[in-house]
Symmetry: C2
Subunit: 687 residues, 2 copies
């Protein structure tokens, strides 16, 4: 009997750590009491709203809450208002967002303020780089949840629908309302009847959650699947083809969102193949969408092998087109001018185009940030971008404000994140990578949130103690807060800076191994490969110095920024050190602010990054008592791998650049443990 | 012209770092002046002595030195005496040793004291575990310098002779006078006419350097190559066969040294196959050698799979035979009771047998100490053993004194070291491993030397600044001493303790991966493998504790030691912590002297070991300006590898034992970066 009693006691104490595999994401809480919901209207969306309240209610037992569909001038489309015991919104989706906001506040112990909540962007979308065969470009969490290969690839199963519904719920819970279902390197197949039928099935599951479906399209579709002789956007037959195609789509998916287009970019066909401009291409499609309210998201990610500075090219190409785009075209601009690097200054296109809608594109999937192996919370990176001041209209013209309609009224505002999810049980491969999905949604809703706030919420929701029948703010004991929340939040918030330190400190960029974009490859420059696809193009190391001269004396990329930024970046005295080698080519013995030489500072940065990861390991191991075994071990194991890789980064980069600096690695730094040649040859093998 | 001048200046400054590949060992100095040598007799050995003086003289220019062959009661066989401007010795080899001693003192800046120098042991021998096919058991520096495979395997080339001469010179220069030319796991082939002819050729090269040749023999040779029906040592035909064989050998090699025998050990045939004792076997051979003055070195390395404690068995088996051996038999005993582990207490056979000659066997080749990859200076290990007090005749009865004839007059005294050399250009694979060859020779000559003294000499001779025409004590500037000698000596002297820390701290032993004896394998215990060939036999970890109980309450191996050692080892309060888990099985929470639990102390020891290697890397990188490029890079690269391996050791052992301790690795320790399962499976692949 005694043994049994002890066993029961043990079960009670460990119940909060019952097995979790991460599939529930940040939606783990169960209701702690009864809630009565008053809602006059019935609809699929409102039914979901009511069910969510009942499943997750953490407020007073037997309370009553009213869901009121009623417009208000102050309410934007998806906005809502908390009144006493009431959620008011102009749309059903607004009601749903209000419910999720209320529940999150209950679950994280945040007060429910009686005020209006409007989203920063009208369209808050995930871009899935999913291919028709189920593979995902830059996907690290399994195959596509939308597409698969094989004989039954088009069959919609209950399992498919369940998963799509979980996906839709997760997105809606953080305020996302759009999904581009396929890769920007698009297959024309996607516009075929067969695929559109599957899109319809997906859209039906997503619709009640307020989520619109979008598709990426290949610009050459008219000639590829339409059997036309050209895809010239000014050709009447081409125009008709697109008009017909869009009409067909709306006949199948009446609330279809629009197209995402990567054209004349990285070998993709586009209007330039016919000596037409991006505006010609985008407007042709936008006209087709006009009758249906759809939009065209046209990517500005363009660069040519012949230009001396890839960072300048999107601006150079798009600025002359300012004002030439239809009002249902939005130019989708990556956060930085090159390509989702661990750190870039913001793209100078933000704040530059004054008569064109621009939308930021962030990359949630960690293509360049350790993929699903490294723990890198991207909130701080996106916050850094959104809060960067473009000086478009003087101080305070942040990237966020210059894209969300605060500065110029735009017909449409939008934001996109390249998704990091796949069929992995925990959706993201790395448990911690769920935080990036969450953070993107939260920032898309409110682009002034701090990453600290987002991390706090996400940790509470994702790792907060959960017992059946009891959770919420009552669940966060002082002990849990002190020994789990605080250290884990600190670790997560530091993680992106750590990655910058051990990968590309001080403004280094794109020194990855070719193709896989995971490990270091600053040496990669085989003959025949175009220069801007090789790291030496970006680091420009030689025995005299290192870094890319983008000052007035160099490529003058600084001049693409408004003053005072242009001068600030141009001048060594004012250029932020985090962008040093992005904007300047400097001698190895240049003195940085720490008083060290540039070479020494580079070495210390790599050392620091490695040690930060080691500290993350310590932090995580210490919280073992507070986490269920499966998720604990997943993260522990990933951190080990990250640490091994941080060592490789540190050794590879210090040893590679040492060939040019010809200076010793400062002797108080832990010495490399790898041989440069071994790292190079093993990288070659991996490729 | 200016450029040329600068170039010349650069050449002058860098001349001391001209390329070296390590082949010259510690014999790099060139003479700095003329020396006149007076020697009345002529002989090959004396010619060498004179030539060495002329090649290496560092004393006053145009000085005169007299070599005097004259006995002196105080002089042992190889001993010599420094008188003013004179080296006196009773034998030619004594003169040669005097010359080498004089030159070493000149080169290292040590005064030449006018006194007598006698060797500690009469026979100072290297054991080569070289096989007839040229492979070397536990050899990590290339193939055998004596044997090779192929059609011309028996052809003696000039290249062979040159190399054998260099080998002989190196040995003589540190006082070694014997070489067992083949593996103790001996091929009977070695006694065939063909092989004896090659031994003869080798002996002819070695002889002028005072070095005798020995052979390992297979006990079953009479039946294997003699076509007898038995190899029973009491069988008259067998006795005759050995008598004839020994006679034949002496007809070919008149100064042949004798046999080394591994019998009834690890599957080797031996007297026990015929129910005869080790004494029966050894004496039978000894009798054959009697007329020729040869000796039999009979190994005590025996253990059976059935005994509960391998560490007890050599003692158990040999002690009853004390007094039963002929006076030209020497029992060759490994330093520790198990097998050349990173740390063992001394073998209890030392100081135990009072009527039998015993000789220590050290292992120079680093089978269990990182092979040719880890920098481990073994001087401290051997010093630890030689200075261990056996209490054979009360305090002060060190292992050294109990084997060198100081306590009991023995007919013969000897010491053996298992060689670490091969065909590698630098002889030992690792430049630093040359120090172990050197140290063994020096300790064989003088078993009271400190390893600090030996390291000092070796570093000066091996890395001291050398310029053509100038070297010697004048060459050691304060700068060199402070920035090279002092830190490198400190590093070398610490290296063995570091290896113990990251491999087997606190008395752990034999937790290597099976067969290769390089990496960790504490888990290795497949079914069907005899227990004493698996690490769990030695560490005995379970959830309650860890360690091998050899106290009175355990296997009572402690009782094989004299008092007060037996009591000291038996009692936890007095047992040295370095032998803790060798003698005791202790709970994981046992408090060690640091105040930590045993588990924590184990973790901290592994951490310390890894950090020591990291510090070695720092030390070595700092001395780069003082070392030629080739040797510098050889050692730098080896240290990196050692560091990677120390990490593997640390992670493997802490994670493996953690399964039993069920305690966290202390959180201020750097976390493991590997997965235990990955280490196990990669170890399995390696095997």
């Amino acid at each position: 009997m005694k043994t049994t009693a002890l066993f029961v006691l043990f079960m009670v104490f460990s119940i909060s750590l019952f097995a979790e595999n991460g599939h529930d994401l940040w939606l783990r809480s169960k209701s702690t009491g009864k809630i009565n919901v008053i809602c006059k209207k019935t609809s699929p969306t409102l039914t979901i709203a009511i069910q969510e309240l009942q499943k997750g209610w953490q407020g007073k037992d037997n309370a009553t809450i009213t869901l009121t569909l009623k417009s208000d001038k102050a309410l934007k489309k998806d906005g809502f208002k908390f009144n006493k015991d009431e959620i008011q919104a102009g749309t059903e989706s607004g009601i749903l967002y209000g419910v999720y906001e209320l529940l999150r506040r209950q679950q994280t112990g945040e007060p429910v303020e009686e005020k209006i909540y409007n989203p920063s962007y009208e369209i808050r979308t995930l871009n899935h780089w999913d291919n028709p065969d189920g593979s995902i470009e830059r996907g690290y969490a399994g195959k596509s949840i939308f597409w698969r290969n094989g004989d039954n690839s088009m069959t919609v199963t209950d399992k498919d629908k369940d998963l799509w519904q979980e996906y839709a719920r997760a997105n809606a819970s953080v305020g996302l309302n759009g999904a581009v279902l396929n890769n920007v390197n698009a297959s024309p197949l996607m516009l075929s009847k067969e695929y559109l039928e599957r899109v319809k099935a997906i859209a039906e599951v997503l619709r009640p959650y307020g989520i619109k479906t979008f598709l990426s399209v290949k610009f050459s579709s008219p000639s590829q699947i339409g059997k036309l002789k050209t895809s010239d956007p000014l050709d009447p037959e081409v125009i008709k083809w697109w008009n017909d195609k869009v009409k067909e789509i709306y006949s199948i998916i009446p609330d279809f969102g629009g197209f995402l287009v990567k054209a004349s970019s990285e070998g993709q066909p586009g209007p330039q193949d016919y000596e037409r401009s991006h505006a010609d291409g985008a407007n042709m499609m936008a006209d087709a969408f006009k009758p249906f309210g759809g939009i065209v998201m046209w990517r500005a990610f363009v660069y040519s092998p012949n230009d001396k500075d890839r960072a300048r090219q999107a601006y150079t190409e798009f600025m002359p087109l300012d004002g030439k785009f239809r009002d249902n075209v939005i130019i989708q601009v990556k956060n930085g001018p090159v390509d989702f690097q661990p750190r870039e200054p913001f793209s100078p296109l933000f704040g530059a185009m004054k008569k064109t809608s621009l939308m930021p594109e962030f990359q949630i999937t960690q293509e360049y940030l350790g993929q699903a192996i490294h723990m890198v919370f991207l909130g701080p990176m996106w916050e850094e971008c959104l809060k960067s001041d473009t000086y478009q209209e003087g101080p305070g013209s942040t990237v966020g404000r210059s894209t969300d309609g605060s500065i110029y009224p735009q017909k449409h505002t939008a934001i996109a994140g390249v998704s990091n999810i796949g069929l992995d049980t925990n959706w993201c491969g790395h448990q911690m990578a769920q935080a990036n999905w969450y953070a993107f949604g939260r920032l898309a809703w409110n682009n002034t949130l701090t990453s600290e706030k987002i991390a706090d919420e996400w940790i509470k929701l994702t790792f907060g103690p959960v017992k059946p029948g009891q959770t919420g703010s009552l669940g966060f004991s002082n002990d849990w807060t002190e020994h789990f929340l605080v250290p884990v939040k600190k670790m997560i918030l530091e993680s992106r800076e750590a990655a910058v330190n051990y990968m590309m400190p001080l403004g280094f960029h794109h020194i990855f191994s070719a193709n896989n974009h995971y490990g270091p490859g600053p040496w990669y420059a085989p003959k025949g490969v175009r220069a801007d696809w090789t790291p030496p193009y970006y680091h420009k190391a030689d025995t005299l110095g290192v870094g890319f001269d983008r000052t007035h004396a160099g490529t003058d990329a600084v001049s693409q920024y408004h003053e005072p930024l242009a001068s600030q970046f141009n001048d060594l005295k004012t250029c932020p050190e985090i962008y040093l080698l992005w904007f300047h080519h400097l001698p190895w013995d240049y003195k940085v602010s720490s008083g060290r030489t540039l070479w020494d500072e580079i070495c210390y940065s790599y050392e620091k990054g490695l040690n930060q990861v080691r500290d993350f390991q310590k932090t995580w191991d210490k919280v073992e008592p507070y986490v269920d075994k499966e998720r604990f071990e997943n993260i522990r194991s990933k951190l080990k791998n990250q640490c091994r890789n941080a060592q490789v980064w540190k050794d590879a980069c210090t040893l590679y650049f040492q060939q040019f600096s010809r200076r010793p690695i400062p002797y108080d730094i832990e010495r490399p443990v790898y041989e440069l040649n071994d790292l190079i040859s093993s990288e070659v093998k991996r490729r």
